[in-house]
């Protein structure tokens, strides 16, 4: 139980992690992340890298959709822009990995800002339609701009190389992807402690009064699009190094829906929600796959029977979340924390 927290300065009250308990848990979590590659096999490291890439992209979409209230169904296409940027840079120029990833972020940010232009005039479903249209245009470019993207055959990407270390396998890439995810999530949390993050939320909640407070709507909406796309671009760049081949089919439209679902399941408008949503959406299919594997000795036809069931269970879980916990996993987390703070006085 915690009675209260004593703070003596405003700076202490504005801190991101403001209690000692929180800092201890955080330190343990980071320790766990460091020890993780030494304790599990290749398969789980592969999953961990994929989760980290999804966390980056989901956090980006959360900035745009969850915090700024602009629904986008183009996140996968933006990731594609990032992935192609990295692939082309590697194939043509052979520039260093870290630089490529950053360039991928900036190029995608530019594309995102362009796609965001209609957002001053259209909102909600109409904006979602506009982003769908943009993502089909991007997909068309990936498939048909043969001289750059090599059309449907795609581009092979050489392994990442940082400070002379070649990173080809998940066990190595883990040390590139996870730090990126951590830094970008922390940066997003910082953003919402300052005037810019507050302006995003203000636009979501009531754009008219945001304008009266001196927030230029178009500039901030474009900034949100650009930032969100920067996250997608970096995630796409890492994706390219992770899967090592980029084709137009790598970033299907359904992948954008995956990210939107992750934001909603995790909790719109909370940083934690983006993380939890990405983890949930990536892990649950894997866990269900494992469950099928465990059952197969008992039921001889398990794979044949349960594989379709797996998809249904996954879908049902998402619907269940929308109905019973509209504020997402982040809200469940918050309630659990409150329970332990108040225990044993109120349950």
């Amino acid at each position: 139980m915690r009675i209260g927290t004593l703070k003596e300065t405003y700076a202490a009250d504005e801190a991101l992690f403001d209690t000692r308990t929180q800092r201890i848990w955080l330190a343990l979590f980071f320790l766990g992340l460091v020890l993780f590659p030494f304790t599990v096999g290749e398969y789980w490291l592969y999953i961990a890298c994929l989760v980290a890439i999804h966390v980056i992209s989901t956090t980006g979409l959360n900035i745009l959709t969850g915090f700024t209230g602009l629904v986008s169904l183009g996140q996968a296409a933006f990731m594609g822009v990032g992935a192609y940027t990295v692939a082309v840079l590697e194939a043509r120029l052979g520039t260093p990995t870290l630089l490529n990833i950053l360039v991928a972020g900036f190029v995608t940010a530019g594309v995102g800002a362009l796609v965001g232009l209609p957002s001053l005039r259209v909102k909600g479903l109409y904006l979602a339609m506009a982003t769908i249209a943009a993502s089909f245009i991007l997909h068309f470019i990936f498939a048909n701009w043969n001289s750059v993207t090599h059309g449907v055959s795609g581009i092979n990407v050489p392994p990442a190389e940082v400070l002379g270390f070649e990173m080809a396998r998940p066990v190595q890439l883990y040390w590139l992807i996870v730090p990126f995810a951590i830094v970008m999530v922390l940066a997003a949390s910082n953003l919402f402690r300052t005037r810019i993050g507050r302006a995003f939320i203000a636009i979501r909640d009531r754009d008219i009064s945001a304008e009266v407070l001196g927030i230029p709507l178009l500039r901030y909406k474009l900034m949100s699009f650009a930032l969100s796309s920067f996250y997608a671009g970096v995630a796409g760049g890492l994706w390219a190094y992770f899967f090592r081949v980029v084709t137009p089919e790598s970033f299907p439209f359904v992948y954008s829906i995956f990210f939107l679902a992750a934001v909603i399941v995790g909790g719109m408008g909370t940083i934690l929600g983006g993380i939890l949503g990405a983890v949930f959406m990536t892990l649950v299919p894997e866990v269900l796959k494992l469950a099928v594997g465990v059952l197969s000795p008992v039921l001889p036809d398990a794979v044949a029977i349960l594989s379709p069931v797996r998809t249904i269970v996954f879908g049902a879980l998402i619907v269940g979340f929308l109905v019973f916990e509209p504020h997402g996993l982040a809200e469940i987390w918050r309630r659990t924390r409150r329970f332990f703070h108040l225990w044993p006085f109120k349950t």
Partner: protein, 273 residues
């Protein structure tokens, strides 16, 4: 009336929506450090006038000057920056945020943190945020007596408190002129008196000029220095509160008759008009 140059001049402003004339040739001045009330029956054009001054509507004719600058065609964010703040009739707070974050947003236009600072939360961003917090706590939150709700989400607050938070947010803008759209509508007697006290204190302690639209005649007569009466989009009277209530046009607009006694009874009876 003040000997100073007016802070805000509304000069022959006309606004129409298609064939509907919302405002025609509205002219009045707001003297610095005064409380000016705009009154009038429903549909008289009070809110349209406010929307012209804060930049949502651009009048077809006429000009609006603020501290000597013609702001008729500037965008709302620019007006916020030069010191125009307003509240809304149907509270326009950000429901998903805490009281503290709502108030912090008031200072948006005066802060400098850019995107990179914000992502890193280093140097300027941190310094600015902590200074802002201190200023808001010590000047705004203490002043409006809302310490106990500062960390609550706005959505959970009672109506009267929300109105107060909206005033707090407007004050955080460090305005030169504060425009209040029906600051006490829907409030009970006690809340109304609190709000009247805050408005007077804002004028006295902060030196802020106030322009308000209000239906509560009792409060208007008690605290305003100058009253402008609108009816069907035109100014039918203006002057000191006492003069305006004697004006037969005003009485006709409000009561549909010429019964001065009845209007005065209403004002003394503190009934909402």
């Amino acid at each position: 009336m003040s000997i100073h140059a007016p802070l805000l001049c509304v000069d022959a402003v006309s606004l129409s929506f298609g064939g509907l004339k919302a405002l025609s040739g509205v002219t009045f001045d707001v003297a610095p450090n005064s409380i000016t009330a705009v009154i009038g029956p429903n549909g008289a054009g009070k809110t349209s006038l406010f929307n012209c001054i804060s930049g949502f509507y651009t009048p077809q004719q006429g000009a609006i000057r603020f501290a000597g600058e013609d702001i008729t065609k500037t965008h709302p964010p620019h007006r916020a920056k030069i010191g125009l703040a307003r509240t809304f009739q149907n509270i326009a707070l950000f429901r998903g945020m805490t009281v503290l974050d709502n108030i912090k947003l008031g200072r948006h236009a005066h802060m400098r943190t850019n995107l990179l600072d914000a992502l890193l939360y280093w140097g300027r961003a941190q310094k600015e945020e902590v200074e802002l917090r201190a200023e808001i706590e010590e000047r705004v939150i203490d002043f409006l007596e809302i310490n106990h709700i500062r960390n609550q989400p706005v959505a959970s607050l009672a109506y009267g408190l929300r109105k107060r938070v909206e005033l707090a947010r407007a004050l955080a803008m460090r305005p030169k002129i504060l425009m209040l759209d029906e600051p006490v509508a829907g409030m009970n007697r006690e809340e109304t008196e609190d709000m009247a006290r805050f408005i007077l204190d804002v004028k006295e302690e902060w030196g802020v000029t106030i322009l308000m639209v209000e239906h509560d005649m009792g409060m208007v007569m008690d605290i305003s220095d100058h009253v402008v009466v609108l009816n069907f989009g035109t100014v039918i009277a203006r002057g000191l509160p006492g003069e305006v209530t004697q004006n037969p046009d005003v009485i006709r607009a409000y009561l549909g008759g010429t019964d001065v006694e009845a209007l005065q009874r209403r004002i003394q009876g503190r009934e909402a008009a």
